[in-house]
Amino acid sequence: MSHDQSDPARLLAAAGLPPDIESPDVVASQFAASRAVLALIWSVPADAEPVLIFAARAAAP
């Protein structure tokens, strides 16, 4: 199932959150902030990096 990544209301619905969880202004500002954060992480060339979410054991001496 794909979601329109530019529509905050649809993203909230996809997460099962009620549409009136916050005012439209708050939702819009949080959505704008999230886009700024995403622009930063997608600016890093990281395609080949392994994903080690619980990496502590791997890094232990």
Partner: protein, 472 residues
Amino acid sequence: MTGPDTLAAAAEAVRAGTVSAVELVRQARAAADRCDRALGIFDARFDESALAAAEAADTDQARGALRGPLHGVPIAVKDNIATVEAPCRAGSVVTGGGWLSGDAPAVARLRAAGAIVFGKTTMNEFAIGRPDPGKPFPIPRNPWRPKHWAGGSSSGSAVAVAVGAAAAALGTDTGGSVRIPSAFCGVTGLKPTYGRVPNQGSIPAGFSLDHVGPIARTAEDCALLLAVMAGPDPADPTTVHAPVPDYPASLAGELRGLRIGVDRLSRVAAGAAHPDLPGRLDAALDVLTELGAELTEVELPRFGELTAATLVTAFSEALAFHRDNLRTRSADFAADTRRTLLTGAFFGSADYVQAQRVRAVGRRELGNLLTGVDLVVTPTSSAPTPTIEAMLADELTGGYGPIHTTYWNGLGNPAITVPIGFADGLPLGMHLAGRWFDEATVLRAAHAFQSATDWHRSCPAPLPDRSTLAPH
């Protein structure tokens, strides 16, 4: 106001029989009685059980049966970490009568070493966001200037230590929640390496970013606490079987030859930096140089990108944990918690994976930097804590704007904040971070700094009457 003893001094005095555990608990109780209502330190106090434990500790001490290095010393615990005395409320009405029972492993280890749990401390709801005046929890005030915020999210733990209502305290740190209130309240706070101290028995904020850590008056106190808490727990898959050094013994080394990289982060703080910060930081760096450290200017790799990756991770993991409650009872959450959690819905699965890739890139690049230096020093925050009014009004950053701690949670490296002076009468902190599992070097440098300075001995003036304070 007489400064509270350090944990190390209190523990030594109990061992020597020059002070009793009962006296220490009574001192903590007196400080709590004096300050709690004005500053909002405790969510729960255990005066009776603490006094009973202290009496038992004194009986044991009299017959030479010390339980461990923390025998008879009162501590406080952030209210998202389990203790047998009371379930966790975590600053939230969502927890109802409280979550979790029994002692978290970190608490159990402190208790086995002789510590006495005196109370559970106030915090930002679920260690997320900012306080909400509309909820039935106090907004923790700064002991240096009560119209200012204590910092978060381990707010009450830092205030308790600053005013002597506990010899030390536990906090949790997902984006800086041990180090931020420690810096804002003028005490010392350590985020251990990810996996060094069990998170089991604490309410998660971000599974892959959470750290249980000590808040105390000194790095020496943090070393004593870490020595007790560190080590794997079979029920906690995030903990590691790395050797645990003798942290108190490791404090003795000198700094001659220690290579310290300095990143002032002025490119990040921009206009949010306080004009007094450069002078305070330079003076602190001069002390490290006089102690024999070799300082070089460095630039931490990908500071903005790694901070962003940590936020994507934190918001996503927090939403995953709280989603069911957020769907059915969103109004019960504090406003800023709700806003933070809903932001997690704006990140997709690919975004989460990319955030982990960025963390991997950062870990490699920071690892390269840490082959040329042993530690990296930055300001903990480029400005002291805001007023409560400004913190609540700041919709964009909530007072977290000039803070530089979040970067390190995405990387997992150990880091400590130590007091380095004041700006406008409010504390500033210096942040020292090291290699994975090298808390010993972090603590050694911080201890040497504190052996040559007095900032950590500063204590807040007696509090004004609450009637003179602004609302909130």
